[in-house]
Amino acid sequence: MTRAFLALVLRDLRLAARVGGSGAMGLVFFLMLVAVVPFALGPDLNLLARIGPALLWFSAVLATLIGLDRLFQTDVEDGAIDLILSSDTPLEVLVAAKGVAHWLTTGLPLALLAPLFGLLLALTPGAMLAVAATLVVGTPALTFIGAVGAALTASLGRGGLLLAILVMPLMVPTLIFGVSAANAATGGTIAFLTPFLILAALSLVAIVIGIFAAAAALRQSA
């Protein structure tokens, strides 16, 4: 079971390294969003610093979304899904493996690079740290919620837009607590730890629900 899990994680990481999958693209998209929003808002650093954490979180949600549609779709297109579905390892374990590989190539780099992008928005060091911490804890939720949508749209030709419409509402709680935790750290009225722990709990719940729901969706649709 662990062998199949590791084999799938390793294969997806290898593919990401060789083909340059959604991970690198998500990062570039993240940077572009952060760079483009100030054009709309105007170059007022005070304003940008105030909304910075929210902006980074919002960009992270969108950047996660654009990579997700290919999560299962590539496997459905080339038939590798048959192998995954006929494995003697439970499908839930394999879905978890795909999610982990996707998070390692998309969510984690996003969280680790967020402080650097925070510089563009004149965030204080404390705020950068808080955004990075909340993203590390929160992006697994985004990945696994998105995995459900990815599984549902896996066999549809143009799943990308549909996927975004399906999962964005489900990502709202994560976004709320992620941003409020990040804001709390920069001198809000509430303590940092409360929303942060709720965010962590949301992430854990999302991982569990996401794995089972995505596996069920794959059995139905793929």
Partner: protein, 214 residues
């Protein structure tokens, strides 16, 4: 092991593809499923692989212990499931990890289909026939008795077809089972055949007219 199918019917969307389909197959036997395009050969294979729910009827397997039918099935469909960026060996190693019950190493499996030298080649560089053979090599990385093959000979040249027949004969001799959907003869001796056309509902039945159109 023994697999028996009774009164199987297949519905895809609104139309009934076939019905009242029954057969049974024991260890060491092969079944060739024939039929015209769209008759439902691939759907039958998908049902046996557990990827499609039958509209009626039952598929039973005996003598496989705790395992489900899907876990003793090695299925090579018309999509190869190969990743272009991975080498043939990496692709097979992944298949082996997914299927479990290890048998031959990826390199040995490639040698069985005459592609030992392709081990280090990314699958994207291979021709259609070669990719097909790499996919068929999957049959050897895992010890699974039931082989489900969908058009196994497509894109294969004559020499490869002969080799495939040898390999299948060997699998039957070891007590395996083979169910293959195909247009072309497989070159196997003593196989059962099943024509799906005989089970396609006739025109006067509801849904039959739709079925004829395919």
């Amino acid at each position: 092991m023994r697999i028996s199918v009774e009164g199987l019917a297949c519905r895809r969307g609104e139309r009934l593809l076939f019905r009242d389909l029954s057969f049974s197959l024991a260890s060491g036997e092969a079944l060739v499923v024939t039929g015209r395009n769209g008759a439902g050969k691939s759907s039958l294979i998908a049902m046996l692989a557990g990827r499609l729910a039958p509209a009626a009827g039952a598929i039973r397997a005996e003598g496989i212990g705790e395992a489900t039918l899907a876990e003793v099935t090695n299925h090579v469909g018309h999509k190869e499931g190969l990743k272009a960026a991975l080498t043939a060996e990496e692709n097979l190693a992944f298949a082996g990890a997914m299927l479990g019950r290890p048998r031959l190493s990826p390199r040995e499996a490639l040698a069985r289909v005459g592609l030992a030298r392709a081990a280090d080649l990314p699958a994207g560089y291979l021709s259609a026939g070669q990719r097909r053979r790499v996919a068929l090599a999957r049959l050897f990385v895992s010890r699974r008795p039931l082989w489900l093959l969908d058009e196994p000979t497509s894109a294969l040249d004559a020499a490869s077809q002969v080799r495939l027949a040898e390999v299948m004969q060997g699998h039957l001799a070891e007590g395996g089972l083979i169910i293959a959907a195909t247009h072309a003869p497989l070159g196997l001796e003593g196989t059962k055949t099943l024509s799906i056309d005989a089970h396609v509902p006739s025109v006067d039945l509801p849904g039959g007219a739709e079925g004829e159109r395919a």
